[in-house]
């Protein structure tokens, strides 16, 4: 029963990656990232039950706190201040083409892993599936980074790549906690970078509100709150 639930969640995670490549509304993109992280939490919990490793519960809790609630709230706050609603610009590949390429990517990863990881395949097909999907997510996130033009979408694509790395770590390696921690550090750097891009390298985090107002990116009535 539990392996089936994990399998369903894995497939839905890839579908959310597909939505990332084709979604046009920015709020939908953030919601999509949240659903992806929730699915990741479910997968981690499921694995914890199957494998009987309580460490995974901790990872699930950490993911819940940081990726389901923390980061999306931050991004949403930025979005509400900057009055951008939509990202309809694509470069190189439109959504349909990008989805075709993703199918090809998943196929390629499956074929390569089938050759390299026979031992894992023989042992437990769930783990094989998880590793394939993890790497596919990373590549699809990279595809999102290169085919979407707006920087915020690129950031979400990068976040999705991190999710993919985490997924791969959950299934294949023995030290998922270290991976999670390193990812958290990465994400903190990412948040700093976003601030940098928005307000310039010589500002501090407190000053960014003032800067945004100066660049007329901060709407006045909300700035006054």
């Amino acid at each position: 029963m539990m392996p089936d639930v994990v399998r369903i969640c894995l497939v839905l995670v890839l579908v959310s990656s597909a939505f990332l490549l084709s979604s046009r509304s920015l709020s939908n993109l953030v919601k999509n990232y949240q659903y992806q992280s929730v699915l990741l939490v479910l997968i981690a919990t499921g694995l914890a039950v199957i494998e009987d490793r309580p460490l995974l519960f901790l990872i699930a809790a950490l993911t819940l706190a940081s990726k389901v609630f923390g980061l999306p709230a931050f991004i949403r706050m930025i979005q509400e201040r900057m009055r951008i609603q939509q990202d309809i610009r694509f470069s190189y590949l439109h959504p349909t083409g990008a989805l075709m390429v993703s199918i090809g990517i998943i196929l390629l990863v499956y074929v390569c892993f089938a050759r390299i990881l026979h031992t894992l395949y023989a042992h437990n097909s769930l783990f094989f599936l998880g590793s394939v999907i993890g790497v596919s997510m990373v590549l699809m996130g990279l595809l999102a980074v290169c085919t979407r033009k707006m920087a915020i979408t690129k950031v979400i694509g990068y976040l999705s790549m991190e999710n993919g790395v985490l997924l791969f770590g959950l299934f294949v390696t023995e030290l998922p906690f270290i991976i999670e921690f390193v990812i958290m550090v990465d994400l903190i750097i990412l948040v700093l970078l976003t601030t940098l891009l928005t307000v310039g390298i010589d500002s501090s985090i407190e000053e960014y509100k003032v800067r945004l107002q100066k660049f007329h990116l901060w709407t006045e009535e909300e700035g006054a709150q």
């Binding site: 497939v11 890839l14 349909t96 998943i106 097909s125």
Partner: protein, 313 residues
């Protein structure tokens, strides 16, 4: 072909004809309730059909034999397709071949006749509806065939009664493939019956109509036959989804009590699915026509992924 299968034929067709207008009206009622209106009464579908059958039929003076034969041909095709999809009772010997590919192509035949009807009366609305319907069906067809092929692969047979029988015997075997296929199948139902977000079945404005545009010039008994056919198609696809996902109440050995219980359970399942469809329709807006292929690509992606998962198992 023995007397049981002939009895099955009668029962299946009568049940489909009886239940289809009810399902249509229930969806309308659910959408109306969400919009805080009271909506039509439950028997309104039947009253509408009766009213239409009593009215005069008008034909355009430059329409051809297509307008005369398309209503009868379309509903006959759908009724023969209904013989292939057992709603409650899966007979041991089939009346008409239950091959899934024949079912698919019969649905295509119905759509073809409707598209020709749209072009027949030389009206712009008909041409528009025809063009859009054909374009959308061109894009959804790969998804449909892949979903049916995946279903045949998982259930191990190309025959629809066989598939239902295997589903009954294995129940409850919620393989992830079946649950994921149901999502694709649900999107398929929305497309085939022309519901939001693909088409709006309630308006007659040319900006939002695909299916209604082709029927704009029909009236009287022809319109009644088309409405009934549309409802029958919806019921057949719903029955497909329900009997694969939740095969409770399917009857393999016939007896009167089993049939009654099966019928009752089918009604409950159907009304549940109507509720889900109505709520889903109310929560979305109709998509721009040229964005619809994106939705289909996602459905295609999901179906392909489902088969990958099954293959990588």
């Amino acid at each position: 072909m023995n007397e049981f299968s002939i009895l099955y034929g009668f029962l299946n067709i009568s049940l489909v004809l009886l239940v289809s207008p009810l399902f249509m009206t229930v969806i309308k009622k659910v959408k109306a309730r969400v919009q805080e209106r009271s909506g039509p009464q439950f028997l309104q579908g039947y009253y509408n059909l009766a009213k239409l059958f009593r009215k005069e039929t008008l034909y355009s003076d430059y329409s051809s034999f297509i307008s005369r034969i398309a209503p009868y041909a379309s509903i006959s095709i759908l009724l023969v397709a209904a013989l292939q999809v057992p709603l409650i009772w899966v007979p041991s010997q089939e009346l008409v071949t239950g091959n899934i590919i024949v079912f698919l192509y019969l649905l295509v035949a119905g759509r073809f006749l409707l598209a020709l009807l749209g072009l027949d009366s030389a009206s712009t609305f008909g041409g528009m509806g025809s063009s859009r319907e054909m374009s959308l069906s061109a894009i959804i067809e790969p998804v449909t065939v892949v979903v049916f092929a995946a279903l045949a692969y998982v259930m191990g047979s190309l025959s629809i009664p066989e598939i239902f029988r295997n589903a009954t015997l294995q129940f409850p075997a919620f393989s992830p493939t079946i649950l994921l296929l149901s999502i694709s199948f649900f999107i398929l139902i929305l497309v085939e019956t022309g519901r939001i977000p693909v088409d709006n079945p309630e308006t007659h404005l040319e900006l939002t109509m695909v299916h209604e545009g082709m029927l704009l010039d029909t009236s009287g008994r022809n319109l009644a036959l088309f409405e009934l056919g549309h409802a029958v198609k919806q019921t057949l696809l719903m029955a497909f989804l329900l009997n694969v996902l939740l095969p409770v109440g399917m009857v393999l050995d016939v007896s009167v009590s089993a049939l009654l219980i099966g019928g009752f359970l089918f009604l409950i399942k159907g009304l549940g699915l109507c509720l889900v469809i109505g709520l889903f329709e109310s929560s979305l807006a109709k998509m721009r026509f040229f964005q619809i292929p994106n939705l289909f690509m996602i459905a295609f992606f999901l179906s392909i992924l489902t088969i990958f998962v099954e293959v990588m198992l």
